[in-house]
């Protein structure tokens, strides 16, 4: 559920209950339901691993509920993404240390193993598309995932929050703990890089 910047700025001025209605969630549970899949894919793009992404999302949800459940609904989204980003950074740090101490682990722990995976689990959520459409979309999304993965961390964060989550520059700056100018720079660079990387896929 992506809201326009106007709706969000209106929500800031509204009383708490009405703002929650505008945002599309009225409780912490609803908020987590709205955000969880997107957060999972963002974490997966950042880490390249399903299980790690799941752990990061779970830890972020846990911390949000534990520390910030009493905040207003408008604050949850930037807070959640700030937690998600810091958890992702923690993961990079731990991974860097682990790779230094156990150099062989980088060859065994990266990526997801498709062994012992139930074929039912691999069934995509939508079945209405024709096989050709599904294949094309899968290829395009794979390419997009790779390209996003290739972006520097800050550019990727800015892209995810601005483009995917539809957050305003102010909210993104709050979530990324940086200035609005930095957000604009990161986002612009990310878009330029993606445009070059996805040239073959007729994005223009």
């Amino acid at each position: 559920m992506t809201l326009s910047i106007v709706e969000k700025s209106q929500a800031k001025e509204l009383p708490n209950e009405e703002a929650q209605k505008v945002l599309g969630y009225s409780s912490m549970e609803e908020f987590l339901k709205v955000i969880e899949r997107r957060a999972f894919h963002m974490a997966r793009m950042a880490t390249g691993n399903n299980d790690t992404a799941m752990d990061i999302v779970q830890d972020s949800m846990y911390k949000l509920v534990e520390k910030y459940a009493d905040r207003t609904a408008q604050e949850w989204k930037p807070l959640f993404y700030r937690i998600l980003n810091s958890k992702t950074i923690d993961y990079y740090r731990r991974k860097a240390v682990r790779d230094r101490v156990f150099p062989w682990s980088r060859y065994t722990s990266n990526g997801d193993s498709d062994q012992n995976v139930d074929i039912v689990d691999l069934t995509p959520g939508r079945i209405s598309d024709t096989p050709d459409e599904m294949l094309m979309r899968t290829q395009r999304i794979d390419k997009l995932t790779q390209s996003v993965n290739a972006l520097p961390r800050r550019q990727r964060e800015a892209l995810m929050l601005r483009c995917w989550e539809g957050m305003s520059t102010i909210e993104t700056a709050e979530a990324m703990k940086c200035s609005q100018g930095s957000v604009k720079t990161h986002y612009s660079r990310a878009m330029h890089t993606l445009r070059d990387l996805l040239e073959d896929y007729n994005y223009d």
Binding site: T2, M28, E29, L32, K33, E36, R37, R38, F40, H41, N50, M54, V57, Q58, M61, Y62, L64, V65, E66, A69, D118, V120, D121, L122, T123, P124, G125, R126, R137, R140, I141, L144, T145, L159, C163, W164, G166, M191, H192, L194, R195, Y203, D204
Partner: protein, 120 residues
């Protein structure tokens, strides 16, 4: 990059990212729901856990305050209490004299008899 091409690229990216979100595997959706429930349930259980020590600490504080507050207060020293104390002391002294008198009563009877005999 022109504004128009940037907008188109943004729209296409948004569309594909939305597809990616919609095509989340059933296994991952299930695990996310589990994670969500776990996160939400820790909220109430932690609050309950945090409530007990807080309750016991506040009860102990109230009991301590009550103990010190309702403890028997010392009697203030004024004229009345001082005179009461003096009279109690004098009564005690008087009682002591009487006891000595009763203990030596036989001697006094003998002395009286002798005096009466001597004079009579």
């Amino acid at each position: 990059m022109t504004n128009h091409s940037k907008q188109t690229l943004e729209n296409n990216l948004q569309q594909d990212l939305q597809c990616l979100e919609n095509d989340t595997e059933a296994r991952d959706i299930f695990r996310l729901a589990q994670a969500r429930n776990k996160a939400l349930s820790q909220d109430s259980s932690d609050r309950k856990r945090g409530f007990l020590p807080a309750l016991s600490a506040s009860t102990a504080t109230i009991l301590l305050v009550a103990f010190f507050f309702f403890q028997e207060a010392p009697v203030p020293l004024n004229k009345e209490t001082i005179s009461e104390l003096n009279s109690a002391d004098s009564a005690f002294e008087f009682d002591n004299e009487n006891i000595e008198l009763y203990e030596d009563l036989d001697f006094y009877y003998w002395l009286a008899d002798n005096e009466q005999g001597g004079t009579g």
